[in-house]
Symmetry: C2
Subunit: 240 residues, 2 copies
DNA sequence: CTTGCGATTTGATCCAGATCAACTGTCCGT
DNA sequence: ACGGACAGTTGATCTGGATCAAATCGCAAG
């Protein structure tokens, strides 16, 4: 038994995979102690710089991960370069597409992040053996599906101002308490990324942001930090 | 044993739920004979007219269904009436949202359809008891998630012409062989529904359709029937 | 402190798609 | 055959957001 693992067990915390340790994600929470130990033996905690790719679109990835800290964006790009962010993931979400070899999208760290990486083969086997894990991942897939469909409404039918308000609301709601209260938070995305998430250009994102600022719904403390004095006012801007 | 069920067993086909019979969906294919018999005892085959609602947005539905025939559209509507279709489902897809009481979207028959309806409680129990079923539904959820994200790219980044071409391609690819070859098919959606799926107005849908017709990519045999002489040409219009 | 460079904001103009308004089927029921 | 009610098409015009073009900000390197 190596040092890192012994430390965890001896500390009295539940035996966890070596790299996730106490911070259980969608995966670790559904495993038995022995599975956790086995997964831990083959997993690796990795720091990822903002902007670097975790999985490339069209590639065959041989691993899955759990987000331990930070924000991950899921992107699709067209051959001519047009880009659409199709999802944001926060700790402790699972990143990967079970039951499919090739990824149809890329996963990229939006902020500096830490992820727990484990081998695809091993987890695929565990999913088959562990109904509770299957259930857990099924649950996350359904949650992501709900979010994707909600965003389809935003993309297809909301105005630019409503789109920007929707994004701010999403971030305010999902950002980690460490970096945010419900009324102030750091934007994990650049203006370009916001535009690619909302199906807009950076110019209209910028304009709508100053519009919301001038109407008193938000304060822009600095380029990445937003204060929302009254969440109800923000919610009204979404008109839903 | 009632007549309908005896007929099925005696015909030598695998014992199936009474109403689905030989046409197994995502659910029936994953159950044991005895489960199939139990589910069959509590399920009901229903004919649904085009346009009528299967599940209402915001309601607590006490049943799930399997599509046996026809096309079902999943809709979201905003308080002011703006509407977005967030998915199309074809036989033998499963309709419902496991693990959640209240539906965040409505499911409505786009064409005349037949569905196999079964009680929520019973299926929820079976999911818990039957890893294979969980796996099957997990698979469908992931498939829908992929489709939703692909459509997010369409909604956010494609032009009106590309959107309409994307829709035609989707229908050509998914329509049932009975009503379609790869190059000719019936549209399961009205112009209004197409507009609500693509985030456009009916007028631009109509204009882009005649544009595609005039450029020779499609023929409009009648308002609901499309012929695609060369699928590659259609695919080019999607630019992806 | 200055310079340089990428990110953001702001301004001026353009245009794809929305809106408004006829017009044309098509399919009823009488 | 006729009329009326929809569903779809086509045309004219308008506009929200895109595009093009400068500022301005922020910040790291010298």
């Amino acid at each position: 038994m190596d040092v890192a693992r012994r430390e965890v067990s001896e500390a009295g915390t539940p035996v966890a995979c070596r790299s996730c340790q106490a911070r259980h994600g969608v995966v670790c929470g559904a495993l038995s102690s022995s599975q956790l130990r086995e997964l831990g033996r083959h997993s690796l905690r990795r720091k990822i710089d903002a902007g670097s790719e975790i999985v490339a679109q069209g590639s065959e990835s041989s691993f899955y991960s759990n987000i331990m800290r930070g924000v991950v964006k899921l992107c699709k790009v067209m051959p001519d370069g047009r880009q659409q962010i199709v999802g944001l993931q926060f700790a402790p979400d699972f990143v990967g597409r079970p039951f499919m070899r090739e990824s149809t999208l890329s996963a990229e760290a939006a902020t500096d992040a830490e992820i727990c990486v484990f081998p695809r083969n091993l987890l695929d086997r565990m999913i088959l053996e562990t109904p509770k894990l299957q259930r857990s991942l099924h649950g996350q897939a359904l949650k992501e599906l709900d979010a994707a469909r909600e965003w389809m409404l935003t993309l297809g039918r909301r105005t630019a101002e409503e789109k920007v308000a929707s994004l701010l609301y999403l971030i305010a709601t999902h950002a980690e308490p460490e970096t945010a209260t419900s009324t102030a938070f750091d934007l994990p995305l650049s203006r370009t990324e916001i535009a690619d998430f909302l199906g807009l250009t950076i110019e209209t994102v910028s304009r709508q942001l100053t519009r919301l600022r001038k109407s008193g719904v938000i304060r822009i403390e600095n380029i990445r930090h937003i204060v929302v004095p009254d969440m109800d006012e923000l919610e009204k801007k979404i008109s839903a």
